[in-house]
């Protein structure tokens, strides 16, 4: 596949040295970028909309970097393109434009054996552990299934032992290998899904809402499995969730999406405590505060007007402008470029009028209807 040109004007951060070591968990995120996306764009054909558009803009110039062993949180409201992005990262969907690099190589250009070898490196854990596991297969068969297409990875004689090992790694027992999905609870099924993803020794696991479908009292168990596996194996996660406290707990870095674009990204602590994009600020302030939260949250609630516009007719300029209380003339005419924060070169926001440290804390105008 011919390389499509990088979208111009996007600030390039990957490859620059880590200046904010505090944001990285000890022992991880030391290497360069493992996975790098630039200007990813994906549209879908849809029935003609009210304005005559037949193209749905699911992704529009998305830049993303995942480093070895880190967790990148991906947040945003329903339909903003998180799962589409995940599908592109997994090569399940081909972007209309933009580039993808794993360890410097474009996986879409690979064929045959080398493609197969690449596929192994990125795995997926799905939201719904009920729908994603074949009920006719036992847990052991489900975990071993990926080896069918990668027969050289684990010698046949080793496989049973390896299945048992994987089951134990995710907190199940070796004897569970013979049981079928319907005999497991939701949390246990999600563990099987994780063990299956691990079977191919991936370097990145894309987790799309991995705990959203689980009982509240079971979510922490599954998050713990993911945390422990990362410490042990050094696998990187792209962690997609609409639950902001969960993302805050899991992520080293975070990317916030709105209508097919990444509007803000950076070290998780910086983004969560000092959001620069008005959308991030409103998202954080809108989320109800957990009873155990320390009091570093936004002091005033910003209640946004309206809902996310349709991705078939996204607004011109800044896509957030129809709901933004800071919007000015320029926001309708010019697409804002990613700009680093004055005090944080890794912390990017795509806004003409980003929130300044002096705006925070004190009075912040609420955008009421």
């Amino acid at each position: 596949m011919p390389d499509t040109a990088d979208t111009a004007g996007t600030a390039q951060t990957a490859g620059t040295a880590d200046t904010v070591g505090t944001a990285d968990r000890a022992g991880t995120a030391t290497g360069g970028p493992l996975l790098q996306a630039r200007g990813l764009t994906k549209t879908f054909r849809v029935p003609r909309s009210a304005s005559g558009s037949t193209r749905l803009h699911a992704l529009d110039g998305v830049d993303l970097t995942v480093r070895r062993g880190e967790t990148l949180g991906l947040v945003g409201e329903s339909g903003c393109g998180k799962s589409t992005l995940a599908r592109v990262l997994l090569m399940l969907e081909r972007p209309d434009a933009g580039t993808l690099r794993y360890d410097g190589v474009d996986p879409f250009a690979l064929r045959g054996r080398s493609l197969l070898a690449w596929r192994r490196r990125v795995q997926m854990v799905f939201q719904d552990p009920f729908a994603s596991l074949n009920p006719r297969m036992s847990a052991g068969e489900l975990i071993a299934e990926p080896w069918r297409s990668h027969p050289d990875l684990v010698p046949r004689a080793e496989r049973e032992r390896r299945v048992h090992e994987l089951l134990e790694k995710v907190g199940l027992r070796a004897a569970d290998a013979r049981r079928h999905p319907q005999e497991f609870s939701g949390g246990q099924r999600q563990r099987i899904g994780i063990a299956r993803a691990l079977a191919l020794d991936p370097e990145v696991i894309v987790c799309d809402e991995p705990v959203s479908a689980l009982d509240l009292s079971v979510q922490a168990q599954v998050l713990n499995v993911l945390t422990e596996l990362q410490a042990e194996l050094g696998v990187a996660y792209v962690f997609i969730s609409h639950d902001l406290p969960v993302v805050r707990h899991m992520a080293d870095r975070v990317a916030v999406m709105y209508l097919g674009r990444v509007v803000e990204s950076g070290p998780a602590e910086e983004v969560f405590t000092a959001p620069r994009h008005p959308y991030t600020a409103s998202l954080l302030s809108a989320a109800p505060r957990p009873p155990t939260a320390q009091d570093d949250g936004p002091s005033r609630r910003i209640v946004l007007f309206g809902e996310v516009p349709s991705p078939t007719d996204p607004p011109s300029g800044c896509r957030f402008r129809t709901r933004c209380w800071k919007a000015e003339q320029v926001c309708a005419t010019a697409v804002p470029a990613d700009e680093p924060a004055p005090d944080g070169p890794q912390h990017l926001a795509a806004c003409h009028l980003p929130i300044q440290p002096s705006d925070r804390g004190g009075s912040r105008a609420a955008a009421h209807e």
Partner: protein, 337 residues
Amino acid sequence: MNGQATPGTAAGNGTALEVRDLSVELSTPQGPVRVVRDVGFEVRSGQTLALLGESGCGKSMTAQAVAGLLDPVAEVTDGQVRLQGRDILRLRRSDRRSLAGPELAMVFQDALTALNPVYTVGSQLAEPFRIHERASRRAAKEKAVELMERVGIPEPRLRAKAFPHQFSGGMRQRLLIAMAVALRPSVLLADEPTTALDVTVQAQIMELLAELRRETRMALVLITHDLAVVAEQADQVAVMYSGTIVESGPVAEVFAAPRHPYTRGLLDSVPAGHPRGSVLPSIQGSPPRPAAVPAGCAFRARCPLARDRCATDEPPLTDTGPGRASACHYWKELADA
């Protein structure tokens, strides 16, 4: 059973709704299963009671039993539901409809299926005024438009002519709320009213509900699985586990010092408040299926405090102090800890 969720110490705030010993049975191919067991709670005018629990614990069944909207496969086997002092479960169907219809309303989780796709939203909103207030067609339409305006639908006169599928998820939820509060009920049951919505829209809907509650002094029973929503929105909380209420009391008190190991475990497992990337304290195992609730305490297989007595004696919801109750034999150990 003793123990009610929020013992009435109402100072000037009348009790709007009182539920006692409510049990609901489901008929299944394997025989009857009790999915709601001896549930009791009380809500005062102008206050919010949160019914907090995980998926499948029986929150919706409780609400549907209270509202008289149970599926035919389910049946109330015991209990009382007192609305303005009258037990509506004992009323004749027609009496129940004329009292409970206007006085007690419900908002469902799924706004799309709760609206009729073939009628305009204007005519659906006008219906309660025509039925219960015998308003003329014209007057009812006018009231419907006012109501749409009140819940924040832009251009209500124009939008009244539209059909449900032409509205976004948030707007449909606004319409359902409008329909529910049309007759100014004294009690509103809201079953996960924002679960299907985006965070920024959830905030809008919660704000609308809080405003309406203040304006009309209705009592709100807010059903949710979200601890943060409870912390922010409710005055009282009743925590449900496996079909029954295991702890209740004022939200601030319960969350600051829970008196049931389940409540305690839930609060501890919330990521907020723990260092980033740390292993979270978690409750082991998962909730039992309703058909396989163990004898004794339903939580015992997962409980760090469990001992022999828990396997044999079911702990009733018992008062543990002013306005508080717990269904644990050993709640004192948590209170003292």
